[in-house]
Structures are given as C-alpha cells and as structure tokens.
Symmetry: C2
Subunit: 248 residues, 2 copies
C-alpha cells in the first residue's frame, strides 16, 4: 500500500519533500543561469517549438506517463498530450481526494523559470545546457508535487471542520477560504525548518567544494513568496470544486 | 566553454560530484528496497525484457541521447542502441582525452543494484516503484559519471609523469599501474570529506523528517569498496589503451 496518500501522512510527506526540493535547488544552482535553455525556438524546429527545458520536461513526462506516474493522485503533468501507461494501473490506496482537475503547473513553470532560476543561479552561460535542464526537470517536478499536495492538505482541513468550510464553499468566498486554511504558526514553523535545512544542506562542509552557492535566505524567500502561496491557491481551488453534500 | 572538461578542473568536478551522489543516495534511501523493480520480466513483456529500473534508465538515456548528452567525453551510456542527437553537436572544449572505448557501466549497474541498494534502503516493499526507479536512474548516472571521470584523472597523471607510465603501459602491467595511480593520502582526504558530507547532509536537522535514514558510514563504505576501486579500474583500462608515442 502506498501510505504516502493517507491523509494522516500528509505532514510527513510535505516535510520530507523539503529536502528533495532543497537538494534539487542546490544541484541546479551549481550551473549558471543559461537563459537560452528557457527560450522557445532557440535551438531550432527540432524541439517542436519548445525551449530546451520544455522539450526535456515533455520527453521525461512521456517516459513517466508510460510508467503510470500520472495515475497517482499526487502527481500532475505539465503537458496534456502524454501517452497511455504501458504498465497496468496499480491498486493505489483509495484516493482520499474528490475527483478534481486542479492543475497549477503553468504557474509553477512560469514562476520557476522567471523568478526562481534567476534568484538561485549566477548570471551568465557555462554551456552546461543538458545538465541544467536535467536539474530543472527535477526541480519542476518536486515543486509541482509540493504545490499540489495542497489538495491533501485541504481535504484534511475540510474533514476536520466541514461546518466551517461548507458555507465558504457555497458562497465561493476565496478570501474567507484563504483565512480558514491559513495557520500562521504552522507557516512560521515551516519557514524555520526551511531555514535550518537550507543552511545545513547548503553549506560547503569541506570548505573546498566548487559551485556551492545557494543562499539559505533565497530558499526561504522562494518558499514564502511562491511555494506556500501556490499551495494555498491549490487548496482554495480544490475546496471550491469540492462537493459539500457528501458525508465526509 | 565547458570548463568541466579541463584537466586542471578535474579535482573540483570530482569534489562537487560528491554532493550530487550523496543527495541522490539520500533520496533513494527514503524508499524501501522494492526488489521487484530490479527483476527483468517482473512487469511482463511491455518492458521489453528489462526490469522496471532498466526500462526507465533506457528510456531516459534515449531522451538524453537526443539532447546530445553522450557526445560529451565525460558521459557514458548504459545502453548501446540510443538514437542520434536531434541537436547539433556543441563545440565542446577540445577533449583532453585520447579516443577510447572504456565503459564500465555494466559493472556500475550490477554493483549498484546488488550491493548499494541493499545497503542504503530498508528491506521490503512500499509500492513506490516509479519514485524509486527515478532515484535509481539519478544514482546510476551520477555514480557512472564519477567512475568514468577516472579517464581525466588518468590522463592528468600520465601527463605529469609520462616516463613512469610509458613502460608500465608497454608491459601491460596492471599491478604496476595500480600502484602508480594510487595516492593513499589523497584517498584518505577523500574519505574524510565523504564522511563529513554524508554526516551533514544525511542528518535530519529538524528532528521530525520521515525517512531520513542514510547512515554516513554506509556512504563511506560505498565509496571505499566500490566507487574508488571502479574509478581506478577505469584509470588503468584507459591508460592501457593510451598511445604512448604522442608528445603528451
């Protein structure tokens, strides 16, 4: 049984994902910005109108789709035209989520390319295009997973307090939902944890490792300014589409 | 210019690769052993006789081959039947290596699957097959890169002392070459660095992160028992094939 999908394990999954995201950001930050890999058509028509990163992401998603990645309710593709799985569907733990089509990956990709990469990578071009793009795919996938785990968070919050959420959902009250899902003390603990993790894993402990240049405060900013808000948007979008007539 | 291929940068590349490998091992170690993903035919004929990990590795290499990954002299594929690049070849820094066909990836894969995975992962099955296999691909690629960087190391050592190496190569003296390339004090420093890195990055700094269970001593053992010896084998194989008539 895939216990990562149980609501009681949501917190553990989110905490463990922090290391994955920080490791991925540290890996990307060893290479320069390499702006050309985000530019559609920079490498000619062989990439079918995509940027090098977009092409790599698309091709990777095709492989993962054949391995049935996107049948799992905690995985969300960036592309819509993916092949069918070649493996039979797993018997996933019964998904605790209601059916939904919330997918904020267009925002995840735009924010990653326009806001995150410029903040974590030194400017310039080091010709490490393939290596950078491989890191980008890992970053995009882990951030997407973190952001969309908001669905599990929201479902859990709803089940804890259905009487609070039902009227907000019925009224389409986004501001009210934002207030209801926000727990400042939990966010403070999250950011404190990110700071200590980014400081520890981001340091060059041997003192002579090249290209170890990810500033922990930058990671904190990325979480506070983009990952947490996108996660909340997923929560709100999911709740607004939730059927409130069910016995939760 | 891709400065990672310059001989004077070899040491820096190897040191930076240590973090990549340790991060990848930590990521794999969060999942259980999942033996079934290494078993050919466990998922039926759709995987073309490969294990799930082998299929994922093969499909990933096809994508990376199209992005010209294997034109770089520091990259070595696990499969031989890869498609041609769709991107034009980059103007790589003139490779400092002599043409060679040394590729120990069959050993890398066997040792990774049989020796490394059982040591870093808890026994059992958690159904995280796709996630585990994705981590495996990252581990295999980074360990392969580390092992085959021995070619750059060997070339550098040869150029520093051609008079030492020429007779050993002429005589096909593997034991003599092993002695000539081995610097115990450098290995001691390497292992000391691995210990501190694995201890630092392997720790659960927030104290409540699930599945943070990679023992630093295990990482040290993996380096000492497999990664370093495979790297030396690459060095020796490369040197034995080296033309010693050139003015180095």
């Amino acid at each position: 049984m895939n216990t990562q999908l149980l609501l009681e394990n949501v917190r553990g999954v989110l905490i463990r994902l922090e290391e994955t995201i920080i490791f991925n950001l540290i890996e990307r930050a060893q290479f320069k910005r390499n702006d050309v890999i985000y530019r559609p058509d920079a490498f000619g028509p062989v990439l079918q109108g995509e940027s090098l990163v977009g092409y790599m992401l698309h091709e990777t998603e095709k492989v993962h789709a054949r391995m049935r990645r996107y049948l799992s309710p905690d995985e969300h593709p960036f592309f819509n035209d993916l092949p069918a799985p070649v493996l039979p569907a797993m018997h996933f733990t019964e998904s605790p989520l209601q059916p939904n089509r919330v997918n904020l990956n267009p925002d995840v990709r735009r924010i990653y390319e326009k806001e995150i990469v410029p903040r974590i990578c030194a400017g310039g071009d080091d010709n490490q295009y393939g290596s950078s793009a491989t890191c980008d795919v890992a970053c995009l996938q882990s951030i997407s997973r973190r952001v969309h785990y908001g669905k599990f968070v929201a479902e859990s919050k709803y089940r804890d307090n259905p009487d609070v959420f039902r009227p907000l959902i019925a009224a389409g009250d986004r501001a009210g939902l934002l207030k209801a899902i926000t727990h400042p003390e939990v966010e403070q603990r999250l950011l404190a944890r990110i700071r200590i993790k980014a400081s520890t894993y981001g340091q060059d402990v041997s003192g002579d490792t090249p290209n170890r240049n990810l500033d922990p405060e930058t990671v904190l900013t990325l979480y506070a300014d983009w990952i947490v808000p996108l996660n909340k948007q997923v929560q709100i979008d999911y709740l607004l589409g939730r059927n409130t007539n069910d016995a939760a």
